[in-house]
């Protein structure tokens, strides 16, 4: 039986086509080809093209004029750039609150009472809605004349505060709106994570007298590490991608005080302020490098994970 098989396959391999003989090494590339093509054309090449564009003065239509690093030199002295950068950092830090907040809600909802599934879905609700609608909803929520926020604080004799019209509050107001769906996302990650927590470890810890915060910190949170990692990744990416809310709620105002780099870039390159593609690209390059720092960390963690298996 086995000799027959060997003989047959040897006979076959001599006569098989080149494709047949190399099938296993060629197939993956054939399967990858369309995805790689699309991804190269629309994602990878454009990154390098943006680096290139940032060295030119260009209105997007006419001829480009090479100006070296002038765009970056201008950026160095641009107060609007620093406002945006500062706001980006505030976004990054405060957005991370979504992680503990999500964990808190997940712990609150991790019970088995009647209707809890519906409660979980409804708590998750804000994440499903587009940021445009979240932005509109919160714009009305903050409205100084009839908004719910001012109506409520009016009952205790405070306000009115024009959150979105006040340069000191505006960024925080928008971040609060962004935290709403982001917290929902982190919550669902933690609910899934909590589901997989090892009950034996909890029992063992209970026998050792652990409870409450100690149990949470030393027994539960370490087991939630994969969920925390994903929550961290999506929150950082979400914070640096913040654009929709700013565009809808304030359009960067008042006096450009709520801009972040992503919004400022768009404003410079594609809005009525002028079509300065080169300058916009330079801002995008800075934003890209901030993100690259995190991307490197994410990939490094994934790499360690891959090798660990």
């Amino acid at each position: 039986m086995s000799t027959a098989t060997v003989a047959k396959s040897e006979y076959e391999s001599a006569n098989r086509s080149w494709y047949k003989r190399n099938e296993i090494s060629i197939t993956p590339w054939l399967f990858l080809a369309p995805a790689i093509l699309f991804f190269m054309v629309y994602v990878i090449f454009p990154i390098f093209q943006s680096f290139d564009v940032s060295l030119y003065q260009w209105d997007g239509l006419g001829a480009r004029e090479y100006i070296g690093t002038s765009n970056y030199v201008e950026l160095w002295d641009d107060p609007a750039f620093y406002t945006s950068l500062k706001n980006n950092i505030i976004w990054l830090i405060l957005y991370l609150l979504a992680i503990p907040a999500g964990l808190f809600i997940a712990l609150f909802l991790n019970q088995t009472v009647t209707g809890i599934r519906l409660y979980k879905s409804l708590f998750f609700f804000p994440f499903v809605i587009s940021q445009v609608v979240v932005g509109l909803v919160f714009t009305w929520f903050y409205d100084p004349t009839f908004g719910l926020l001012n109506t409520v604080i009016g009952w205790v004799g405070l306000g009115p505060i024009n959150v979105l019209g006040d340069p000191t509050y505006v960024t925080y107001g928008i971040i609060a709106a962004g935290l709403w769906p982001q917290t929902a996302y982190c919550m669902i990650l933690y609910l899934t994570g909590l589901n997989a927590v090892d009950p034996e470890q909890i029992e063992a810890a209970r026998l050792d007298g652990a409870k409450g915060w100690k149990m949470l910190w030393y027994v539960i949170v370490p087991q939630l590490k994969p969920a925390t990692f994903i929550a961290f990744v999506v929150t950082i990416v979400g914070a640096l991608r913040s654009f929709d809310l700013i565009s809808i709620m304030t359009n960067g105002g008042p006096f450009g005080e709520s801009r972040v780099l992503s919004f400022y870039m768009f404003e410079v390159a594609l809005s009525e302020y002028g079509f300065r593609m080169g300058y916009g690209a330079a801002i995008a390059v800075v934003l890209f490098f901030i993100m690259l720092f995190f991307i490197a960390y994410f990939l490094y963690s994934m790499y360690k994970d891959e090798k660990g298996h």
Binding site: V43, Q49, V113, Y119, F141, M277, Y303
Partner: protein, 282 residues
């Protein structure tokens, strides 16, 4: 289970918890409840300054009727569908294939290719904006749904490939080996063995991509303008300009724009959550 199951705690805390749940939910969804309330209030309530009273009469039919029959909203919704569905199909198809290649085959560049997809998926949109807009203009696809769809497919392929590859890695490899011993062609292994097993992943990704693309705003305003091709997220700003200060109509419009992904979420909840939380558990 953590925290301690409520059934094991004192009766008083059980009752507190049961009553706390709806209160917390109402508080959490307050901004949305307000908008839903606005959307069924008749116009008169607003001109009379009764923003927060209960609706004096049910104005829902009137408000939603206006959204559907006296505005461009239906066209924007249609555009959204025509952008979202082809994108979901395209991105899922490309990533099924790429995920198969990266999840099954061992070759030198495997991890590199995979990491390029993953890294690309995280880049800020702005670094792509100028070249992608330029490319779309050059191809004559600016302000078309096709232009937007092509970009979305390409960009979503990053996330989808990450997802599919990890899913396929979790499949029993013995199946593939058994098929190879039988001498089955590699593409047949994909079509007849791997693809049927990927159904849950395909379902999860389709609903996720549907939601992501439906909710996209940035690329909609970068690559399209006007009612012929803009999706509803971008359209709603012109809708709001048309009905400035008519809060009952703007609220109804916002709810209509938000509804399809919400419906998708409730119908496909299991898949949706499975997709979002992939990797949250080891």
């Amino acid at each position: 289970m953590f925290p301690t199951p409520i059934q094991k705690s004192p009766r008083s805390w059980q009752l507190t918890y049961q009553s706390l749940l709806p209160v917390a939910l109402i508080f959490w969804l307050l901004p949305l409840i307000a908008v839903a309330l606005f959307s069924v209030k008749p116009e008169g309530d607003f001109s009379g300054g009764n923003y927060w009273s209960l609706p004096s009469s049910f104005g829902g039919w009137d408000n939603y009727g206006k959204v559907f029959f006296q505005s461009d909203m239906p066209r924007y919704l249609m555009n959204s569908l025509l952008i979202t569905i082809p994108t979901a199909i395209g991105a899922v198809a490309l990533s099924c294939m790429a995920g198969f290649a990266l999840g099954i085959y061992k070759f030198k560049l495997n991890l590199w290719v995979f990491f390029i997809f993953v890294a690309g998926n995280f880049v800020p949109f702005q670094i792509l904006m100028v070249p992608v807009r330029d490319l779309t203009l050059d191809m004559g696809l600016y302000n078309t749904k096709t232009g937007l769809v092509l970009f979305h497919i390409a960009f979503q392929t990053g996330f989808c490939t990450l997802f599919m590859r990890n899913f396929i890695k979790g499949l029993p490899f013995a199946l593939i080996e058994a098929a190879r011993v039988e001498g089955i062609a590699e593409w047949k292994i994909f079509v007849y063995i791997v693809l049927p097993l990927m159904k849950p992943a395909i379902a999860a990704l389709s609903v996720l991509i549907f939601t992501f693309i439906w909710n996209d705003y940035f690329w909609a305003i970068v690559l399209t303008q006007g009612v012929d091709s803009q999706p509803v997220t971008a359209g709603i700003t012109s809708f709001n300009a048309q009905f400035r200060a008519a809060y009952h109509l703007m609220s109804a419009g916002a709810i209509v724009a938000a509804l399809p992904p919400v419906a998708m979420f409730f119908l496909m909840q299991k898949h949706f959550i499975a997709g979002l939380t992939l990797g949250a558990v080891k």
